[in-house]
Amino acid sequence: MSLLPLFQWAAHAPIFAVMRDSKWGFAVVEMVHLLALACLGGTVLVVDLGILGIGLRRLPASFVARDLSRLFLGSLILTGISGTLLITAEAMKCYYHPAFRLKMLLFVLALALHFALNRRLSGVPEDTAPTAGLKLVAAVSLALWLSVGLAGRAIGFF
């Protein structure tokens, strides 16, 4: 199934008119997107860098990940809602934009890896040091989330 009709609908739906026509409608949603990004990215950094031995390295990674999962999910929902609204302002541009497509692909990968990492972490006893495999996954996760951010910023540049 093609997603084209969905984007075409979003591009013309009256409910999203405020996103398309109002400068400040778009601006406010963009600000919310950035605020949520700070929390989402902050959580990812603290958990992944902690596994790599930077930052919260003296706390068990499994504990930190579980404790911060609510903050992660909350900011994920907020970035998701604000991000979807941003798409409706330029739905057709996004649909054909290579940076947007890349961002969505990277985002799905980063999210899948995040949940896989959390599942693996939950089986790790709290007093054991992270294995090399776990560190590798954390490094890949960091690189993926960074790429999501880079691709996201690139949407605005061309």
Binding site: K23, W24, A27, E30, M31, L34, L35, L37, A38, C39, L40, G41, G42, T43, V44, L45, V46, L49, I54, G55, L56, R57, R58, L59, F63, V64, D67, L68, R70, L71, L146, G149, L150, R153, F157
Partner: protein, 162 residues
């Protein structure tokens, strides 16, 4: 020389002009500035949320704050250098931009807040280090910090709209 004249002079220097006219360097610096928010504001927010007893509440305040501080500093350096370069490139425009002025004022408050916090209530952290809910003044500092940093992100984004 007035502040405006200084901004105008910075604006006209060779490095500022080449930054402003660069198709590649300017967007890269801007991207670094946006993504480093996660390192600076993200780690500040986690410490603030710990002070409010909302995350990592089973951990000592000093442990969370102390271990995250190097990350916050790294984020600060990235933000300061990239932000400084962005300012160079648009110094004259920034001077008159109301959002930029608000942001600079908020940055000043954001800088003073931890100074006051660390020289007052945080001195007695050993007493309330394990507390899930920290003293009222510590929570006040956390709320102020969260509010001011949100304001900085919002006004920072608004600079582009003026």
């Amino acid at each position: 020389m007035s502040l405006l004249q200084i901004c105008q002079w910075i604006n006209d220097t060779g490095i500022a002009t080449s930054l402003r006219e660069s198709d590649l360097v300017f967007p890269i610096v801007e991207t670094v500035h946006v993504l480093a928010i996660t390192l600076l504001a993200g780690t500040v927010a986690i410490v603030d949320l710990r002070l409010l007893g909302l995350v990592l509440k089973q951990q000592r305040v000093s442990q969370v704050a102390g271990q995250l501080l190097p990350l916050t500093w790294a984020g600060f350096i990235a933000m300061f250098v990239s932000g400084g370069l962005l300012f160079l490139a648009e110094a004259a425009k920034s001077y008159a931009n109301p959002a930029f002025r608000v942001k600079m004022l908020l940055l000043l408050i954001a800088g003073l807040n931890p100074l006051v916090f660390h020289s007052t209530i945080y001195r007695s952290v050993a007493v309330w280090d394990d507390a899930r809910i920290t003293p009222r003044r510590a929570r006040l500092a956390a709320v102020l910090s969260l509010t001011v940093w949100s304001g900085i992100i919002i006004s920072g984004r608004a600079i582009a709209y003026y």
